[in-house]
């Protein structure tokens, strides 16, 4: 963005007004966003405080904050956060790598691609949570099962999107590479992969969300730690404050991860 900054020129009045309006709109939108947040939190707190909403069922912003502080003092909170974060990051990374590698293999061999197509469609439409009990039998309960769940949820879509990106490459560009005598490796690394970068970044963004779904599902199924575990635990001992506090933390973590990935888009999507 910085290099786009124009040098100081004498803009016309219309141009000045236009730029002013853009800046003003930006401020209004930002203000609106903050206002929505403040109103939501304030109303929630007010309704809980006056007893219109039963804080036992609906918790309240202040109770969520105290619960988080209490949990943090207990020392276990960090273990739960770290466990979920770790499972999500590993699941996200493995699913992305495995998905891209499989997509490359399927791009390489058209016959294999056609053989695998119906199975990919079936796997894509299968609700992966249905495999939950099986996963526990296969890899045992705990972190392993959660990571596997995470991978299952992300990997099929990664394969399908990346494969689509690979095979939709302009046929004349392929012809160009061939006319320069490129072999298949060169076509892959010099054309297909860089050409699919925008789709890859979209896939990353989708996978951030999906891997959190996988982690929470996995932790619901069986776990001894993690935010999903904490949500489950809170609801079982009827402490909905704990549930809401965990959900709040989850929101913050997922949003944080999303904002780490999205600058890539600005940089490479053009």
């Amino acid at each position: 963005m910085k290099n786009k900054k124009k040098k100081i020129i004498n803009y016309s009045k219309a141009r000045k007004d236009y730029l002013k309006k853009i800046r003003k709109d930006k401020v209004i939108v930002l203000f609106g966003q903050l206002a929505i947040f403040a109103i939501f939190i304030g109303l929630w707190e007010l309704l809980a405080f006056t007893g219109v909403l039963d804080p036992f069922f609906f918790s309240s912003p202040s109770r969520i904050v105290t619960t988080i502080i209490d949990l943090a003092k207990g020392g276990n909170l960090w273990i739960h956060i770290w466990t979920s974060l770790y499972e999500t990051l590993i699941g996200f990374a493995l699913a992305t790598v495995i998905g891209v590698v499989i997509a490359i293999i399927l791009w390489w061999s058209e016959k294999l691609r056609r053989m695998m197509e119906p199975y990919l469609i079936i796997l894509n439409s299968l609700p992966k949570i249905a495999l939950g009990p099986m996963i526990i039998f296969w890899v045992g309960s705990g972190t392993g099962a959660t990571i596997v769940m995470c991978i299952l949820i992300c990997v099929v879509l990664t394969i399908i999107s990346m494969l689509n990106a690979f095979i939709s490459c302009d046929s004349d560009k392929l012809l160009l590479m061939k006319s320069m005598h490129a072999n298949k490796f060169q076509i892959l690394f010099k054309l297909i992969l860089p050409n699919s970068l925008p789709q890859f970044i979209s896939v990353l963004k989708i996978n951030v969300g999906m891997s959190w779904v996988g982690t929470i599902m996995g932790e619901y199924l069986s776990s001894k730690a993690g935010l999903g575990y904490l949500i489950n635990y809170g609801s079982q001992i009827l402490k909905l404050d704990i549930v809401m506090a965990s959900i709040t933390l989850l929101c913050i973590l997922a949003a944080g991860m999303y904002f780490l990935v999205s600058p890539l888009e600005k940089r490479y999507k053009k």
Binding site: D172, M177, S179
Partner: protein
């Protein structure tokens, strides 16, 4: 002058699931060294097929294609290909685009090839844009880059598949001139495919008119217009006469 390229009774069929498509039928012509030859014919008649056969991406169903008297091979270094669109890779700089072919053929560390690439950039006014991305260049400049990308590999025969048809009319005349000048000053033999008769007339020493699909050679014209550039050749007094003859032959 010797024949650089010879098509001898070449036929070609495309195999599709539904049927066999006969694209070429006994195509017979030759291209002399340093000559600029154009293939003119209606859309879909088989012009691109002729180029694909020439560079060995397809094998002819019957007949023979000779380059310098030898049969074409799959990976023939003597041939360079230029497409309708420039197909510059947006993620590469102009320089990286230009040495793409050198990279593929593992010559990108070869001093002489790199020096040649650099000299072409300088000669054709693209040196200041060396480190720019393709999207920062105009359509005409991009097409020049595409031509240089092909020339860097130093092919004897250039195949040009409607390289100007994606440009608007103004740019087209200018790029036509540029490409013509580059090809002539680099002493290349060129085979241009086009469906634009005046484009063919303004650039060629020889025009081969093809029939509808399956393509066969309908007529061959030797052209000898006054003028150093395509734009100047358009002023020749016989331009209109030839245009009309070829146009009649096409429809």
């Amino acid at each position: 002058m010797d024949n650089l390229l010879e098509f001898k009774n070449v036929s070609y069929f495309y195999q599709t699931k539904e049927n066999e498509v006969k694209a070429l039928e006994n195509v017979d012509f030759s291209v002399k060294e340093k000559q600029f030859t154009s293939l003119v014919g209606p859309s879909g008649c088989g012009k691109t097929t002729i180029l694909s056969l020439t560079c060995g991406l397809l094998n002819c169903s019957s007949g023979e294609i000779l380059i310098n008297g030898e049969k074409v091979k799959k990976h023939d270094d003597r041939i360079g290909y230029m497409f309708q669109r420039d197909h510059l890779f947006e993620w590469r700089t102009i320089w990286q685009n230009i040495i793409l072919g050198l990279e593929i053929q593992k010559k990108h560390k070869d001093e002489k090839s790199l020096a040649f690439a650099e000299s072409l950039l300088k000669k054709y006014d693209l040196y200041p844009f060396k480190n720019k991305k393709p999207r920062q260049l105009s359509g005409g400049m991009r097409q020049r880059v595409a031509l240089i990308r092909t020339l860097v590999l130093n092919p004897a025969l250039l195949l040009l598949d409607e390289p100007f048809s994606a440009l608007d009319f103004q740019t087209r005349l200018k790029v036509c001139d540029d490409v013509y000048e580059i090809i002539k000053s680099e002493n290349k033999t060129a085979l241009l495919v086009t469906h634009d008769i005046s484009e063919a007339l303004s650039m060629s020493d020889k025009i081969i008119v093809l029939s509808k699909r399956p393509a066969h050679v309908k007529e061959i014209y030797e052209i000898n217009f006054e003028g150093a550039s395509p734009l100047a050749k358009r002023e020749d007094k016989d331009f209109g006469k030839y245009f009309e003859m070829i146009w009649r032959n096409l429809v």
